[in-house]
Amino acid sequence: MTEIQLDPGIDRKIDTSAMKVTDEVAIQITGMNKWYGSFHVLRDINMTVNRGERIVICGPSGSGKSTLIRCINRLEEHQAGQIIVDGTELSGDLKNIDKVRSEVGMVFQHFNLFPHLTILENCTLAPIWVRKVPKREAEETAMHFLEKVKIPEQANKFPGQLSGGQQQRVAIARSLCMKPRIMLFDEPTSALDPEMIKEVLDTMIALAEEGMTMLCVTHEMGFAQAVANRVIFMDQGQIVEQNEPREFFNNPQSDRTKLFLSQILGH
């Protein structure tokens, strides 16, 4: 049997030297449940993420992937179980929530840039108002990250003047300006055209190469195979299977996973 080889989506070679999983726990989720009204959307989620891990979460539509990662920075509230991020437990305590949110970056499917602010202002807003960084310094940091995502020349434009791919890269830069220790991505490429998907994936891979802890909901299986150290498959609000990518793609165990993979990989 030949191994499945997926296209990582970018043209360069990926440097894996700095992608190291450490022993330090970044996120610990135990016995977590969530309901929307009477609808049991997440069921008994248990999962530990160590610092340096790159986790890809996949699964059919409506399986609760977005809900899961949105619980990690409490955009959604869980009703049972425990979520501990960087040693801080997420509960009703607003101080803890703010602390976690300023350390966890999030990138959305629809970018959610602030349309009334320039690109540079989008990037400096949170550092200035949340971290109390002086404006000058915040702008320098912002330019640094805008260069990283390869659009420093757009700094003074407004989001509406940028292409989708550029907007998503700004959104990534905006999160990075808060110097997060963990990055969450919720289908960052699924609102984009193929050419733009590539530039966003490239940015995300560069981030992984620097050793960022990442949780990424995506259907880009090439990205998963090239970058992830673990792939989690969800269905009906539960974690059905998780494995390192090679095993996951070549030797899926559960029937649901097999079905999902055959649909998404088209064989």
Binding site: L75, R101, V104, H110, N112, H116, L125, W129
Partner: protein, 432 residues
């Protein structure tokens, strides 16, 4: 055959084209007329019909306006000059303009309202035009006290003692903010209340006896004319926007109690005619206040007009809030901005921008509604026009007075409307 076909399909450009200027548009008045007024039969008919209407209107009003009399001591004198021809008698304006503008404000003090108005524009400038230095906002903050003192006069220590209450609130907030935001907010509310209730009066009296400074006091019943419209309109406008924002946020809040209070306030005030609120202000309020309190009628009216406009404002702003995508709230949350910072930096700038037409609509409506105070006996321009007619000299004159009053209101309302258009253009960053 296939050879030529292949040649026409495959194509390689050898030379790149340099960019060139866009073609010049054809110009000329005739072309403009043809395109804008006479393009097609229907448009030609509409153009001609409009011209006809304009012609009739001008033919009716024009001679009357052109044949106007500007200096006469009474309507009878005016008629004598006109000698049976049709003509406007604007001499009533030259005779009584000061009353229409200032009411019965003492003439030797006219400079005070004029200066207050000039300073008002200076105070508004940094709010309206962000290009001006932010430091000017300090003047905007102290303007209400300066404006009050110029208009009403009295001891200068009274507005100072009121202002010190706000300073006390600010200091309490800054000092307590280190302990906890909630305590700081309570402190910021309690400190001024205590100051006003227990210390401000004594402070006013002592300072006045040590250093009696001030302008001659002018009683509220001397105020009138356009001055009163401006005082009520501008106070109402500048207070109703922040109160409206708070009501709108309260209505959106998750806190059930706060939410119901806001809903009840908004729905009650919107459900009641302004004139009822004004009568309440002028007649009923005295029953509810502790006996002996004198509570200025103009101030009472300002409170009622403000409440009325705030309820409308709240709904206009709620519309703007509803138009914002949920993603904006989520992005602000995800970046760690707390509720007030998210509101101030992300949500309100966008919601208010969307609501500009509705907000300005409410402003203009409020400003024109100030003429309703005539029904509770305040002498606004309409009230004064009645008073002027009560004089035998001018008994029976209507149009000229109303044209003058309309022109005054039009200048201010049109100004607001133009400013809002400028603002919308300046804030347009979505590039749709």
């Amino acid at each position: 055959m296939s050879d030529t076909h292949a040649q026409t399909v495959a194509y390689v450009r050898n030379e790149m084209l340099a960019p060139s200027d866009p073609p010049l548009r054809e110009a000329g008045a005739v072309k403009w007329l043809r395109e804008n007024l006479f393009s097609g039969a229907l448009n030609t008919i509409l153009t001609l019909a409009s011209l006809l209407v304009i012609w009739y209107a001008l033919a009716a009003i024009g001679p009357w306006l052109l044949n106007s009399v500007w200096s006469a001591g009474s309507l009878a004198e005016c008629r004598a000059i006109l000698d049976g021809t049709s003509g406007a008698c604007f001499s009533v304006i030259t005779d009584r303009w000061h009353q229409l503008l200032f009411g019965f404000y003492p003439p030797q003090h006219y400079w005070r309202p004029v200066l207050a108005l000039a300073l008002l524009f200076a105070a508004l400038a940094p709010v309206l035009f962000p290009a001006l230095p932010r430091k000017l906002m300090i003047f905007t903050a102290v303007y209400p006290f300066i404006g009050y003192h110029l208009l009403w006069g009295g001891s200068v220590w009274f507005p100072v003692s009121v202002a010190l209450g706000f300073v006390a609130g600010y200091l309490a907030y800054v000092l307590l903010a280190r302990v906890s935001t909630l305590i700081a907010v309570f402190g910021a509310i309690l400190a001024p209340v205590f100051w006003w209730a227990f210390a401000a009066g004594a402070f006013d009296q002592t300072m006045s006896s040590i250093l009696p400074l001030g302008l001659e006091f002018v009683r509220s019943d001397r105020f009138g004319g356009f001055l009163i419209s401006l005082i009520i309109g501008i106070s109402g406008i500048s207070l109703s926007l922040p109160i409206g924002i708070l009501l709108a946020l309260g209505r959106q809040s998750d806190m059930v109690f706060l939410k119901s209070v806001c809903v009840v306030v908004i729905e009650f005030i919107r459900g009641v005619p302004l004139i009822t609120l004004l009568f309440t202000a002028s007649l009923l309020l005295n029953y509810f206040l502790p006996p002996g309190t004198t509570f200025d009628l103009i101030l009472r009216v300002i409170i009622m007009v403000t409440l009325f406009a705030s309820a409308y404002m709240a709904e206009v702003i709620r519309g703007g809030l509803a138009a914002l995508p949920k993603g904006q709230y989520e992005a602000a949350d995800a970046l760690g901005l707390n509720y007030w910072k998210a509101q101030r930096l992300i949500i309100m700038p966008q919601a208010l921008k969307i609501s500009i037409p509705g907000i300005v609509n409410t402003f203009i409506g409020l400003f024109k509604d100030t003429t309703l105070v005539v029904f509770i006996g305040l002498l606004d321009p309409i009230g004064l026009s009645n008073a002027i007619r009560a004089d035998t000299n001018w008994n029976g004159i209507y149009w000229e007075l109303f044209i003058f009053i309309a022109a005054l209101f039009f200048i201010f309302c049109f100004g607001m409307s133009r400013y809002s258009m400028y603002l919308e253009r300046r804030l347009k960053t979505d590039h749709k």
